[in-house]
Symmetry: C2
Subunit: 220 residues, 2 copies
Amino acid sequence: MIPKQNSGVGAQMKAVIPYKKSRAKSRLSPVLNQEEREEFVEIMLDQVIDSVIGAGIETIDILSPSMHGLENMEKARVLLDKGDLNEALNRYLEQAKEPVLIVMADLPLLSPNHIVEITSTEKDVCIVPGKGGGTNLLFIKDPSRYRVRYYGSSFLTHCSIAADAGQNIEIYDSFLAGTDIDEPEDLVELLIHGKGAAKDYISRKFRLEVSRGRVGLSLI
Amino acid sequence: MIPKQNSGVGAQMKAVIPYKKSRAKSRLSPVLNQEEREEFVEIMLDQVIDSVIGAGIETIDILSPSMHGLENMEKARVLLDKGDLNEALNRYLEQAKEPVLIVMADLPLLSPNHIVEITSTEKDVCIVPGKGGGTNLLFIKDPSRYRVRYYGSSFLTHCSIAADAGQNIEIYDSFLAGTDIDEPEDLVELLIHGKGAAKDYISRKFRLEVSRGRVGLSLI
């Protein structure tokens, strides 16, 4: 059940999804070739956009260094920025006049309900940690007072940046929103907990391999 | 902030924590030797018991095949069962007259608040998925109608067992409760998100190693 989003709230914020299709997700190369990885990131992006739309957010920007794979994008606006991820996002935040939700494009387990809860925070900033120290979503009520620094232990960095700017934070605790798909073992989570096109794509190629430890992947 | 647990509710259920100290956590052997692993599981157990106590649950049983490491246990009752995990837990469930919360002993990021929320479910069964298809916590209101089957893809198995018995389920979505500590990469989550003695133990031996991908561990 998706709580009904007050359309006024969704209208007063915007979401930005950084995206790059070319040579995406190199850490999945042990199990998917480049063509497959590029197909797969496009499917994940589409699913993430649908989750954002489902949460009632009306302005969605895709921030990309290239139009590759975005030529026919109709669900969201495409903004080109050839800078690296942090430069591009910080330029975006500088220009934003309203609260901004930064959503990574590799979150196929994310639901509209997660997004509604994250953007309903009473704090200044809401951070969704990803595996291994990452930041999967970041909701910033006053983007003029916040700058991002992804890569490395970005979750801790983003907590510090908020604290240094005198902004209080909520840490949003979710296994599903916390599962970014970067490595082969993450595909296991998609097969177990996922739904939709991204799960279908992976389940046509792999099945779960059950042993005594954690479940693995094997080729179909 | 821990919501205050109605002591009546906590009194009407019990928690069981399966535990084995000897040769525990072999998958951590690349980074901790056997003596260290046995020390570490004892510290994690103590922290998990404190979370259960903090949630207001008054009856706590530790289910173990041996008294090793439990000789001086005062915070919980110790039940010996030399059967394997599933046999021992199913014998326990058969005899239970009240709702049972099964908590794995390797969840140092679990808080009392998680436990209060899990045991407040309106469904018959509440399941907390762990990484790689595991089941980290399982709350069963009517244990006479439920049997467990851990190992392998136990999360999916436990969902099916509930469905087959006509019991409805809640899936509790938490990054922190979903982080069981089995492999070296899990220690990264403990260093980033943890607190208390388990985090202190690991942070005396390792520090975070930051690179472009997920954060890793390096020796101090």
